[in-house]
């Protein structure tokens, strides 16, 4: 908090967080814990970022924040081999930093946030921070065969090849997936050939170790998308600069032309330019602003803005990668204006509300079933192979590729097993138990769902009539003529199972559950049940 307030040049207030789309999770001692709501604003995921917003909104500094970097001669020579592995790198030197334990913690947190969350677990973005003092420029960013280079990685005393790091080192194992199937691995080394790091996995324990007391750092970002790599470098550079560091740009020299050129220096402070009609603001927000007020609001959100005639020309700070369309800028105008200052307008047009006919029909089924004395239950749509096997069924499942647990590993194709599961969880509850459920089910081998209706009755003694009378009452209520035809179905007792036929179509099953099925579910009372395809029943009903 002390740091934040020093950086923001004012007292912290929870309300300020709204401008940074962050939420206060708690304050303990001097530590403020925040949760960011905006997954597209990594520049806000640090105390420097929050402080920057506070400075802008309270007019401590308006427009694009200052970011100065000395044009140096330091270079990273990029070898052509990296093109197919991890093609882009951007880096800069930060002097006049005073690395303390606290600062180190903040730096690591920011690095983690950027590379793990925004960088999708280092796939898009990996960040390395080094002690500048120990290395010699120019650096070399190359890709080598897995056994070609050996060095001692952080958190180890042992010299290892890149292959060994991925196999043995805990961090190596964690990120090995990012390099799977590649013949060459990235390596960053200095002019003397000493290894800085093995991006995106781990730094060396010599050049890649930063300790308190350090005054000069080198920071680099690697990844497959040049725009993202530069954005991350800019975000880091701005944070160091805000903290009082003196920056020196480092130029990445590519063997061929890249979207940003052949020689690309970082940070790249060139602002993104975007323009729109002044009237667009009123069209989206419904408020009429004076031009100077619009400019002032934009400056408070740290844009540079100019209005010429009807055109608003905006420059976006280089640490923001989220501005894709004028609406993104106009939202910031609304935020600076204050969401709670907007006066409401009522909807004017008339529209007729309506339920979908499937909902209307399903609701009718549920009403009839409840009227027949059954209790509605709801089950998960996700189920397991075990549930199907418990029904004496050996059928294909509509399985998930990435289940979290076996219990929820497939989309149900029938509600009956879930009603049985429900009964098995209620063995000690008063009998008789009469339950039903209507809801979505998948169809095997098809990505389509239908509504089914299932009902179960269990008691110390039940007969087929208990369930057939319910089915009959339901069908009569719906005005649907049906017949029951005896059938063999492993879920039910032989001779006590039937298909429900409506106009020559099989619309469901009815019967008394097989004792093996009862055993499988651990049930001790007989169960009679039916299940209907309600979607098709709807077409048959009047």
């Amino acid at each position: 908090m002390k740091n934040l307030e020093k950086l923001a040049k004012r007292k912290f207030s929870e309300h300020d967080l709204e401008y940074a789309k962050a939420e206060l999770e708690g304050i303990s001692g001097d530590v403020v814990k925040l949760k960011s709501a905006d997954t597209n604003r990594p520049d806000l995921w640090s105390e420097e970022g929050i402080a920057r917003v506070m400075r802008g909104i309270h007019g401590v500094s308006g427009g694009i924040p200052k970011l100065l970097a000395k044009k140096g001669t330091k270079k990273i020579m990029v070898a052509s081999h990296v093109a197919s592995v991890r093609p882009f790198i951007s880096g800069f030197v930060a002097d006049n930093v005073h690395v303390t334990d606290e600062m180190l913690r903040g730096m690591i947190a920011m690095q983690e946030n950027l590379s793990e969350n925004f960088g999708r677990k280092r796939q898009q973005i990996a960040i390395g921070i080094y002690s500048r003092r120990k290395m010699k420029f120019p650096l070399k960013y190359d890709a080598v065969e897995p056994d070609a280079v050996k060095f001692v990685p952080l958190e180890s005393d042992e010299e290892m090849s890149l292959r060994q790091i991925l196999q043995k080192h805990p961090t190596g194992k964690k990120y090995a997936g990012l390099l799977r199937g590649m013949s060459h691995y990235p390596i960053l080394s200095d002019a003397k050939g000493e290894v800085l790091s093995f991006p995106p996995v781990i730094n060396s324990s010599t050049l890649g170790k930063v300790e308190p007391g350090e005054a000069s750092l080198f920071v680099e970002v690697t990844g497959p998308d040049q725009r993202q790599v530069m954005l991350a470098a800019n975000i880091l550079a701005q944070a160091f600069f805000d903290n009082g560091a003196k920056l020196e740009a480092v130029t990445s020299v590519y063997p061929n032309k890249t979207p940003m050129g052949k020689d690309v220096a970082a940070p790249d402070t060139t602002p993104q330019k975007i323009s729109f009609q002044f009237g667009d603001i009123e069209q989206l927000l419904g408020i009429k602003l004076a031009k100077e007020d619009a400019i002032s609001l934009l400056e408070r959100m740290q844009y540079n803005a100019k209005i010429t005639g009807t055109k608003v020309a905006v420059e976006v700070p280089c640490y923001r990668g989220d501005i894709m369309h004028p609406v993104d800028v106009i939202e910031d105008i609304a935020i600076a204006y204050g969401y709670n200052k907007f006066e409401q307008l009522e909807l004017e047009s008339f529209t007729a509300g309506a339920l979908d006919r499937t909902t209307v029909f399903t609701e009718k089924l549920r009403r009839i079933m409840a009227g027949l004395g059954l209790q509605e239950v709801i089950s998960p749509i996700l189920t397991s192979r075990q549930a199907s096997e418990n029904m004496n069924m050996k059928e294909e499942m509509l399985e998930l590729e990435n289940p979290m647990t076996e219990t929820y590993s497939a989309v149900r194709t029938s509600i009956l097993p879930l009603l049985m599961q429900c009964l098995s969880r209620n063995k000690n509850v008063e009998y008789p138990q009469k339950v039903f459920e209507a809801g979505e089910c998948g169809i095997m081998l098809m990505a389509k769902d239908i509504i089914k209706l299932a009902a179960c009755i269990t008691d110390s003694s039940v007969s087929f009539e208990h369930i057939s009378s319910i089915l009959d009452a339901l069908m009569r209520s719906l005005g649907v003529e049906y017949k029951i035809r005896q059938v063999h179905d492993p879920r039910f007792i032989e001779g006590r199972a039937g298909v429900i036929m409506v106009g020559g179509d099989k619309l469901g099953v009815i019967g008394e559950l097989h004792p093996q099925v009862l055993n499988n579910w651990g049930l001790e009372n007989p169960v009679v049940a039916f299940e209907l395809n309600a979607s098709r029943l709807m077409e048959k009903a009047k």
């Binding site: 401008y19 789309k21 709501a37 997954t39 597209n40 604003r41 969350n117 999708r120 998308d225 725009r227 069209q283 989206l284 927000l285 419904g286 894709m324 369309h325 609406v327 106009i330 939202e331 609304a334 935020i335 969401y339 709670n340 006066e343 409401q344 307008l345 009522e346 909807l347 008339f350 529209t351 509300g353 309506a354 979908d356 909902t359 549920r366 079933m369 409840a370 027949l372 004395g373 509605e376 239950v377 709801i378 998960p380 749509i381 996700l382 509509l398 399985e399 998930l400 590729e401 979290m404 647990t405 989309v411 429900c422 209620n426 509850v429 979505e440 998948g442 990505a447 389509k448 769902d449």
Partner: protein, 415 residues
């Protein structure tokens, strides 16, 4: 013939046939002597009387002869009487004169007589019909005793709540949207301008189907413009600037957000139009007090020629009033990949305090333009489970989905 019952004789004839009919049947094989017929037909005198009266049989000396086949017999009238059905007056008077039926009252009276002067427990039909209730004492009950517990058939408390929400939203002019739970990444995410590298799209953010893995076909009409919006932008947008993978768009997932339904609705949405959905959604979360393998999302869209952020404020106020019963709201800047501006609705509930009630925003042009919509679209979502839980006295979201029959049966019917 309500109020009449068969006499013993009537019941006998119903079972064995009427004697005059039996006599006619006997004679159908040829004339018989009186003596002969007497032996074969019991109640012979009755038989002869009615057979002659009906003009079926003639007496020729000591011989009896059939002169016409029996018709319009009383048998079916008897059958009707036994079932308590009405019959014509003429037949009824014949049946009464032959004492084949008797007035019901007689029977009831006989039964009612048994109770006269006594204390009885149940007030029976014969006592009420005969007025004999005046001559008996009705035993008092212990009406203060605890009632026997029974459980009504009823809706589950959660679905009942959702039915209530549906009713409120249709009353507010919203039309329901339905859609598949097995959805393509296209409608679940691409159409909502969520880039294909978005973290909510990886295996930790959305369930993928194993077989089939891909939808056979998508509406190519929308695929191309959406692809273009992602790759290079649309309507003044610079786009996400990456190579859009059409195969991934066909990837089948379980719907992870109700907004997928809004995306599906956009191409055919009416202007002006208001839509809502209560969608079952799925996310790979560890199951705990606030996470379930599947859950419901309540959300929708509003389209009109002119809609601004100020209308959105009006809509959110309307929802706060409707569902939290409050005028006190706060609007907090928020983020959704598909809306700009984006807002979170925080409403003051008198018992729960400040409560996150929903999220909303105006759909980005990158969402609406590729789907052929050229008017502003307000998108909104509501999280009102907590209010429902409060009303139902439920603390744990898992109890909203409870399968505990005892718990469900004993719930008060709140919605």
């Amino acid at each position: 013939m309500g109020g009449y019952v068969l006499t013993d004789e009537g019941r006998k004839y119903l079972k064995d046939g009427l004697p005059e009919v039996r006599l006619a049947e006997l004679l159908s094989s040829g004339p018989k002597s009186m003596e002969d017929a007497k032996k074969k037909i019991d109640s012979f005198s009755v038989a002869l009387l009615w057979a002659k009266k009906n003009g079926w049989v003639a007496i020729e000396g000591s011989q009896l002869r059939l002169i016409s086949q029996p018709k319009d017999t009383l048998h079916e009238k008897l059958a009707a009487a036994s079932e308590g059905k009405e019959t014509d007056k003429e037949s009824l008077s014949v049946l009464l004169s032959r004492r084949l039926v008797a007035e019901h009252r007689m029977t009831l009276e006989k039964q009612a007589q048994k109770h006269v002067g006594k204390e009885v427990t149940s007030l029976s039909k014969e006592l009420i019909a005969t007025g004999r209730w005046k001559d008996v004492k009705l035993k008092p009950y212990n009406i203060e005793a605890a009632a026997k517990t029974i459980y009504p058939g009823k809706k589950h408390h959660y679905t009942a709540f959702l039915d209530w929400v549906k009713g409120r939203l249709t009353a507010l002019g919203f039309e329901e949207m339905l859609g598949p739970i097995m959805e393509t990444e296209f409608w679940n995410m691409d159409a909502l301008y969520m880039p294909q590298f978005h973290s909510a799209r990886d295996i930790h953010g959305v369930y993928q189907l194993k077989d089939p893995k891909f939808a056979d076909k998508l509406e190519d009409r929308w695929l191309e413009p959406v692809k273009a919006a992602h790759e290079s932008g649309v309507a003044g947008s610079r786009g996400w600037g990456y190579k859009f993978d059409a195969d991934q768009a066909h990837r089948l997932v379980l719907r992870s957000q109700g907004t997928a339904l809004s995306a599906r609705q956009l191409p055919s949405a009416k202007v002006p139009g208001r839509y809502f959905s209560i969608a079952r959604c799925f996310r790979p979360d560890v199951v705990d007090a606030s996470h379930l393998p599947d859950f419901f999302q309540i959300e929708g869209i509003i389209l009109d020629k002119t809609l601004t952020f100020r209308h959105l404020v009006g809509v959110l106020r309307m929802f706060a009033k409707e569902f939290a019963g409050t005028d006190r709201i706060k609007l907090v800047p928020s983020y959704f990949p598909f809306t700009e501006p984006s807002v979170e609705l925080v409403a003051y509930h008198k018992e729960l305090g400040w409560l996150e009630l929903g999220g909303a925003g105006v759909f980005r042009p990158e969402v609406t333009k590729p789907l052929g919509v050229n008017v502003p679209v307000i998108a909104w979502g509501l999280g009102i489970d907590r209010i429902a839980m409060l009303k139902m006295g439920i603390n744990d979201i898992r109890e909203m989905f409870s399968q505990n029959l005892d718990f469900i049966r004993k719930r008060e019917v709140v919605y």
